[in-house]
């Protein structure tokens, strides 16, 4: 069964001049099966985050539909949770209270909120920090708390928008490991938006490549490496280089000098 599906989704925004509209994404269709992790990469400004906002029900698409668990997305739902590059922790709440934000909004009792938060914090080795405030934690720990908050509402789909791009390289490796383990253990479905090609390859079952604006899906690469819950092991796999090369080619990151669009032309 498809947990998340985009059917011919187009999003236009009114331009600053209001004369014409700006098409962020156009005719995007793809679906993610139960328990699958799909990475989405593309040049900056190609509308990846717009897609995430549509999936979480924060924006309504200009055309097309998004579906979660077969139901059309009409607004924010309990089945979808998102996580951004920014941890978005509330400085006036303790770590446990931050983790419980979603369940609290959804009307759970105080004791249930505390129970859920403490259980997740134990899972992330953060139990000792439950009563601390966000400013007392390191960037990597804060991002782990943000992941716990995302999982606390027990969503069927996780939308992750460059969740680790603001942390240092070593912390990122450890966070990638935590995420991969968590997604596998809880059998969650996830859409992972990232700039990091290696991250896309080592964390996902499938990589979708988007074009520059207006964003369209231009390629779909199944990652056939296995052991998706062990990104550290995947890093060392021989097939990774091949996938990376294909992604670089699709993203036109390196192209021959003669192919430069802005190269000077002889008169």
């Amino acid at each position: 069964m498809n947990r998340l599906e985009f059917r011919d989704v187009t999003m236009r925004f009114a331009d600053a001049s209001a004369r014409q509209s700006l098409t962020a994404i156009e005719g995007v269709s793809f679906s993610i099966a139960d328990g699958e992790v799909v990475a989405l990469i593309g040049p900056s400004g190609c509308g990846k985050s717009t897609l995430l906002n549509i999936g979480s029900g924060l924006y309504a698409p200009s055309a097309g539909q998004a579906f979660v668990d077969g139901e059309q997305v009409q607004g924010p739902s309990r089945h979808v949770a998102f996580m951004l590059q920014k941890d978005l922790l509330l400085p006036w709440r303790t770590i446990a209270q931050n983790v419980a934000l979603g369940v609290e909004i959804q009307g759970q009792t105080k004791s249930e909120c505390a129970r859920r938060a403490n259980e997740l914090l134990r899972g992330f080795n953060l139990a000792d920090f439950a009563g601390r405030y966000p400013h007392q934690l390191s960037g990597g720990m804060r991002q782990r708390v943000a992941l716990a908050r995302t999982l606390a509402i027990d969503p069927s789909v996780l939308l992750l928008d460059e969740p680790f791009s603001a942390v240092d390289a070593q912390t990122r490796i450890s966070l990638q490991h935590d995420l991969a383990q968590t997604l596998k253990r809880a059998a969650k479905t996830a859409l992972l938006i990232t700039h990091d090609l290696l991250e896309a390859v080592i964390l996902s079952d499938r990589v979708l490549v988007m074009s520059a604006r207006p964003g369209r899906i231009v390629d779909e690469i199944p990652i056939e490496i296995g052991y998706r819950d062990e990104p550290l092991r995947r890093r060392q796999d021989g097939k990774v280089a091949g996938y990376m090369a294909r992604l670089m080619e699709r993203l036109e990151i390196v192209r021959p000098a003669s192919d430069q669009p802005h190269a000077l032309q002889p008169a």
Binding site: R78, A81, L88, L90, W92, E104, I105, Q106
Partner: protein, 264 residues
């Protein structure tokens, strides 16, 4: 400079402050005499103290101080409440803010104390015009700070709450309201001192009670020590109001990383 511990900083700082106070009092007591300044221009500290004791008995100083303090408290609380409520309402409605902004700006530019004679004409020689000037003068900094705080909230934070299916009220109480606390308290500190200004101007303009009235009374009698006593008492009221705000701020904003002396 080597870094010093917080307790050492407080100890050294307090000692220096007390020393400065003693130097200031000594300079006040003997300085004018040494420079040949007549006592009716700058009365020495001892003369001001003597006048203070005399005023306690003869001029009901505590009654007037109490009236002024009550007006300051009433004006400060009502002005802050109104300012905060309008700040939140305008913060949540960009249309209302756009429509009202020229009028708000005009009222903000208008010198609030200039309204004092008008309010006295409307309400007579009662406490109400004084409180009203204080309300008016406290209102704007509080409203502007709250409005700016609401406008400045990271939209992703609002989206996060909305993605958790938060209602409009939940977004306000769980995100917007707590986010506005630090700027709100910054404006309350300003408001606490401004409230005293508003009340005194009201009392100077008309009435027969309050420290502002005693100020004009002392001025009429060319009683310089009396004027000094009134200024000191007004400073005392403002200082206590300011410290009360800081006391509350430290309880509400306990999650903010500690600053020496609570960022006095």
């Amino acid at each position: 400079m080597t870094p010093i511990s917080r307790t050492a900083l407080i100890r050294r700082g307090t000692a220096a402050s007390i020393a400065l106070l003693l130097i200031f009092l000594a300079a006040w007591e003997w300085g004018p005499r040494l420079l040949g300044i007549p006592t009716f221009i700058v009365p020495p500290a001892s003369a001001v103290y003597t006048e203070f004791v005399r005023m306690l008995v003869v001029n009901h100083l505590m009654f007037h101080t109490g009236v002024t303090a009550a007006e300051v408290i009433a004006g400060f609380i009502l002005g802050s409440l109104l300012g905060a409520v309008f700040g939140y309402l305008l913060g949540m409605s960009p249309t209302a803010e756009f429509a009202l902004s020229p009028y708000i700006l005009a009222l903000q530019i208008a010198p609030k104390v200039a309204f004092a004679p008008l309010f006295i004409m409307w309400m007579g020689f009662t406490v109400y015009p004084k409180i009203l000037v204080a309300i008016l003068i406290v209102f704007f900094p509080v409203m502007v700070n709250v409005l700016t705080a609401i406008r400045g909230i990271d939209p992703d934070l609002i989206n996060l709450a909305r993605s958790f299916t938060a209602s409009r009220a939940q977004v306000f109480w769980k995100i917007e309201f707590p986010s506005s606390m630090p700027p709100l308290f910054a404006s309350l500190r300003i408001g606490a001192t401004l409230a005293v200004v508003g009340v005194v101007v009201g009392e100077l303009v008309g009435g027969n009670f309050g420290l502002g009235y005693l100020l004009t009374f002392g001025e009429g009698q060319a009683n310089t020590p009396m004027v000094f006593v009134c200024i000191l008492m007004l400073t005392l009221i403002g200082g206590i109001a300011y410290l009360a705000v800081i006391w509350l701020e430290q309880r509400v904003l306990h999650y903010v990383p500690a600053r020496p002396l609570g960022g006095l």
